[in-house]
């Protein structure tokens, strides 16, 4: 199996073209394998979790609904999610044999995604606490404990603040892959006709440089395929749905708050 596609350029030089599209299937399979493994391991702790959920503590002193995501965050997440799905569909389906006019949808969606991420960066920087997503050493320890618990059934990690370590890690992995795809995608727009600037296929790089741009775009894309599979999987897992609903409704139930979060790390400041 090849990882990258290569070609001979007009000067007879061997150059990179991009990733081999079979990586899409690998990414999809990787997502599927993770999903199956997780489902298999989940059987070991899901009963306990359900029990814990039934006996969850409560604190009537706290508001019934604890706000977890602002409207702006939810809108961003929605736009980003739809964009991402559209980008993956338009990016990969034609490569695996389903032909349709994908290019315009792809780059326009890409720009929407870019705009939403710019918004998100500004919003998160100036209106939210970056600390919430900061991955510290304790997060890494929590991650390890979480994984150990999943595999061997050990002690669970301590309750997190607003975001569990795994969610933070996912965010950063998606950020890395997404930024690679976005930055390279914007560069690639010099190689297509669009209304924003004049097409110039030779701008910025030589053959070799452009090859890397396409490789990074492809790698970002296939990583996002795996991450999306995982993300969608967790979103529909029953025990995670409180989080899914929070991304739609904006709030979580007080019980979920107390069960999944450490109020000391994420003190409640608002609610209904």
């Amino acid at each position: 199996m090849q990882i990258v596609q290569r070609a001979t350029n007009p000067w007879g030089q061997d150059v990179l073209l991009g990733i081999d599209w079979s990586l899409f299937w690998i990414a999809l399979i990787a997502g599927g394998v993770f999903l199956i493994l997780h489902l298999a391991l989940r059987r070991r702790w899901i009963g306990e979790e359900k029990k814990a959920a039934a006996n969850a503590p409560d604190d009537p002193g706290l508001p019934k609904k604890i706000q977890r995501h602002s409207l702006a965050s939810r809108l961003f997440h929605g736009v980003m999610g739809i964009s991402m799905i559209l980008l993956l569909i338009t990016g990969f389906l034609p490569k695996v044999g389903l032909q349709f006019a994908w290019l315009e949808i792809h780059w326009i969606t890409g720009l929407i995604l870019t705009a939403s991420i710019v918004f998100h960066i500004i919003h998160a920087t100036f209106f939210q606490s970056l600390k919430n997503v900061w991955v510290g050493l304790s997060d890494l320890g929590d991650m390890m404990r979480e994984m150990r618990k999943a595999v061997t059934g050990g002690e669970p990690p301590a309750k997190p603040g607003k975001y569990p370590a795994a969610q933070k890690m996912f965010h950063h992995a998606a950020t890395l892959a997404g930024m690679a795809a976005i930055v390279t995608g914007i560069l690639m727009m010099w190689r297509i006709e669009q209304p924003l600037w004049a097409q110039d296929d030779y701008k910025f790089f030589g053959d070799g440089g452009w090859g890397w741009v396409y490789v990074l775009h492809g790698v970002g894309g296939v990583v996002l395929v795996t991450l999306t599979v995982a993300h969608v999987y967790f979103a529909i897992l029953p025990e995670k749905r409180w989080m899914t609903w929070s991304m739609i409704l904006g709030w979580i139930d007080r019980k979920d708050y107390l069960r999944h979060h450490d109020p000391a790390k994420w003190p409640v400041s608002g609610g209904k």
Partner: protein, 334 residues
């Protein structure tokens, strides 16, 4: 690997005597198979070692693919029928003269003897960057060499570019579109038919192919209904020299005119887009009109709206406009 031209590499040659036999081989080899008709497009690719199929399926010995026959509602032309036979066929000349006329402008007399109608329709684009074997989008690469600020794109498209700016080179395609022809496609799972105008695929949808033909399918024949038999036809091809040249722009029209009023019409333009264009908006405007210089000019002007010329092909816009005008009112001003 060093590049060398002008030497055909090895391949397995199949010369089936039945279409089923050919389809069986094609199905077996799929993407690594190549369909050989007259060879006029094929051997260029092979000689330069740009296309290197494992299996070549020569359709030359399959009788059912050749010949022109009258059907209930028109005629059917086997895809392997030589262009010269199309040009010389009495029935075609009498009822579908535009096809004979278009076929007669293809290449040279020698090439028309060897080249087939099917080959003329499914041939690959002549973009010289692509045919030189450069790794462009159409060849699976990540660039259109013909669409950079300095590219030599005099022959390329002014409509429907989508990463690739190559044009359809066929002369018979616009004629068949105005004749409302159907392409009969055979695969192992049977026969399917596609309207001539839907037979061609632009790069927005599939950048590596020119037609809807799948790797395990063969164009079997072209069926022409009698809808436009004996209509008023116009075909013109503008090229750089009178032989062995592809169109800079070609145009075809069919009209039914009564009392000088256009009752119905079809119009198609080639070599301005990756696919032969059916000019439906022009047709719509033309129906019910009395042909005049003014009408022809106005409709022709509308026909080129939206054209986006490249660095070196701005001339195609007025050329296309003038050819549409002539397709409506004839060669001479009225």
């Amino acid at each position: 690997m060093a590049v060398i031209n002008d030497m055909i590499p090895d391949f397995e040659l199949y010369q089936p005597e039945s279409l089923d036999g050919a389809l069986e081989v094609l199905d077996r080899h799929r993407e690594s198979a190549w369909v050989l008709a007259g060879g006029m497009d094929t051997f260029d690719w092979f000689k330069d070692r740009v296309k290197r199929p494992e299996a070549v399926v020569d359709l030359g010995a399959i009788p059912e693919l050749s010949g022109i026959s009258e059907t209930d509602g028109g005629i059917e032309i086997g895809a392997m029928t030589p262009l010269t036979a199309v040009v010389d066929n009495e029935l075609i000349r009498e009822r579908y003269g535009i096809l004979a006329e278009a076929a007669e402008t293809v290449a040279t007399p020698q090439i028309r003897n060897q080249g087939t109608l099917g080959g003329n329709l499914v041939q690959d684009t002549r973009c010289w960057y692509y045919r030189a074997g450069w790794p462009c989008y159409r060849a699976g690469g990540n660039i259109c060499y013909a669409d950079t600020p300095e590219s030599m794109n005099r022959e390329h498209c002014i409509f429907d570019a989508s990463r690739c700016v190559a044009v359809t080179p066929s002369d018979t395609a616009p004629a068949l579109i105005v004749l409302d022809a159907e392409m009969v496609i055979r695969g192992r799972r049977g026969e399917r038919t596609v309207a001539a105008e839907d037979f061609f695929v632009g790069p927005a949808i599939d950048i590596t192919r020119m037609t809807v033909l799948q790797p395990n399918e063969v164009l079997q024949s072209v069926r022409i209904p009698d809808t436009w038999a004996g209509a008023d036809f116009y075909f013109e091809k503008v090229r750089d020299r009178n032989a062995w040249d592809f169109p800079l722009v070609n145009v075809a029209s069919a009209m039914r005119v009564e009392d000088e009023v256009v009752q119905d019409c079809r119009l198609s333009v080639g070599a301005v887009s990756p696919v032969p264009l059916r000019m439906e908006r022009c047709e719509e405007l033309l129906r019910g009109q009395t042909i005049s210089e003014d009408i022809a000019t106005r409709i022709a002007e509308l026909g080129v709206i939206g054209a986006k010329p490249l660095r070196h092909n701005g001339y195609k816009v007025p050329l296309m406009r003038n050819l549409i005008r002539r397709a409506i009112r004839g060669q001479a001003p009225v």
